[in-house]
Amino acid sequence: MAASDDNVIRVRELTVAFGRHVVLDRLDLEVKRGEILGFVGASGAGKSVLMRTIIGLVPKVSGHIEVFGVDLDQADDAARRVIERRWGVLFQHGALFSSLSVRQNIQFPIRENLDLSQTLMDEITVAKLAMVGLKPEVADRFPSELSGGMIKRVALARALALDPEIVFLDEPTSGLDPIGAGAFDELVRTLQRTLGLTVFMVTHDLDSLHTACDRIAVLGDGKVIAVGGMDVMLASEHPWVRAYFRGKRARVMTGEPALEQG
């Protein structure tokens, strides 16, 4: 087994372009085992593109992506499948299968990958639902009958179905009210601790960054322009980072007095 402080995801010199529009320009990023990395950037800067490139949904132009020390370009299909089983993805809008019930949604990856009895799968489903803070009654509902927050929780339960080591979260708290978002941050934090997860979280939510993330990476101009804890972000003099972390909305959190206001 690898040492506990190594990088589970290593992205080097990654370039992604759509036609002539270069989204990510020789980007470098490392995610350490067991941390929650918050990934921020302006809308349209390519945060989700990076996530989708790492999990193989968007083709890259050049560069290397290593997950668990395996270069994804060199891995054959079997090796890739093993790696894919070790990560879970929570899409921005949940991406629950709308024709399946919550129970079937959560059992889908289990059923495809493991040969388990229906009883055990049902028990595991209840356990997973409880872990994301939902009652067992939810299991028989369909995605269209769930609220936004519940969809996110069920999607998280599905992402966690096979006990992955990495979870990718794409704007997990968008569309949730502040209380729901806070509870979700707390949930991610708890699960990260109990399951020893590595979390890669694309987010806009300053609260999430503040309460849930160990490290923050900022994307700008196709590159990572700053990376580190909240203190590093607050000390940064990059104009966008300044505006983001020391703007009006951020001061409430950091307790810094509003400078521009009279």
Binding site: M1, F97, S98, S99, I110, N113, L114, D115, L116, S117, L120, D122, E123, I124, V126, A127, K128, L129, A130, M131, K135, P136, E137, F142, P143, S144, E145, L160, L162, D163, T190, R193, T194, L195, G196
Partner: protein, 378 residues
Amino acid sequence: MDGAPTLERLAGQDGPALRAAGAWTAQHAGAIERLVRDAERRARKEAAVEIDVSHIARLDTFGAWLIERLRRALTRENNAPRLTGLAEDYRGLVEAVRNAGNDAEPRQKEPGAIVLMLAAIGHAMSEVADTLIQLANMTGAIILAGLRIAVRPQTFRFTSLIHHMEQVGWRAVPIMVLITFLIGCIIAQQGIFHFRKFGADVYVVDMVGVLVLREIGVLIVAIMVAGRSGSAYTAELGSMKMREEIDALRTMGFDPVEVLIVPRVLALIIAMPILAFIGSMAALYGGGLVAWLYGGLQPDIFLSRLREAISLDHFKVGMIKAPFMAAVIGVIACLEGFNVRGSAESLGSHTTSSVVKSIFFVIVLDGVFAIFFASIGM
């Protein structure tokens, strides 16, 4: 890499104990479940008082749950077995799972086959009634919207009408021509083949002319339109409904029927007679071509025979039916689109039922028209 999971029975300090070892993870969950089930069965005779988990190399939710399940099975009169040697890293996980399974409840029992069958028949019957009511409802809504537009013509969406006419009319021409041409060829070939036996080759022209102009031309076009454009209407409106676009329109003070449905239905009503006309001509052309090449009937003879065989009435009968069929297809397609609920499956099933219902109602309508025209002597 951590060894297969095992569950051994040992003699502990104060009674029998179980020792779990190896990787208790999702990958091995099937094997672990069998181990646990065996242990549960044996526990009925003599329950172990200790579960030693110190030899477990790796543990995840699956393993933790199975240990918890074992612990519950071994619990006698509120005396749960001790869990010893649990690594600090896994303590949180085991506790989370322990709290999780507390309110598990058994699944509801399904009713019997006969009850399900009767329920299905009942549902189907009430669905038929619902469909008819909804159809009347939607037709009324469209007429009302039409009247509102007639009062204030500036609210009419002319651009939308043209766009849909291009989609369902102009772009449908090639496929309609091809299909009706082939149908015309086939009718003529079959007619010649069978009529030749009693020397009545030339009556093929009568058959092709009457059949194509009265029935086949418009019917084939209507079925194609239902499959091609009706399904597209349902899918468009259905996905708009799923994304709450229709609700958004309503809150902005627009009537979705006026904005979305009236231009679509009107486009179909205008386009379908044109398509039916083009289709009928293509079918006659195909029939003539086959009569010439296969039946040896010269084109000028075919034409003069056609002029004798058919009257303007035959042509009118076909053309009169076209806009009514278009209206039926349009109303059903839009209605099904508006009935789509949240899921992708619902979108699929409504698109299917849109096509099936449209074709059914087109054929029913054709039958009604046949009786009507026969009784007025057309």
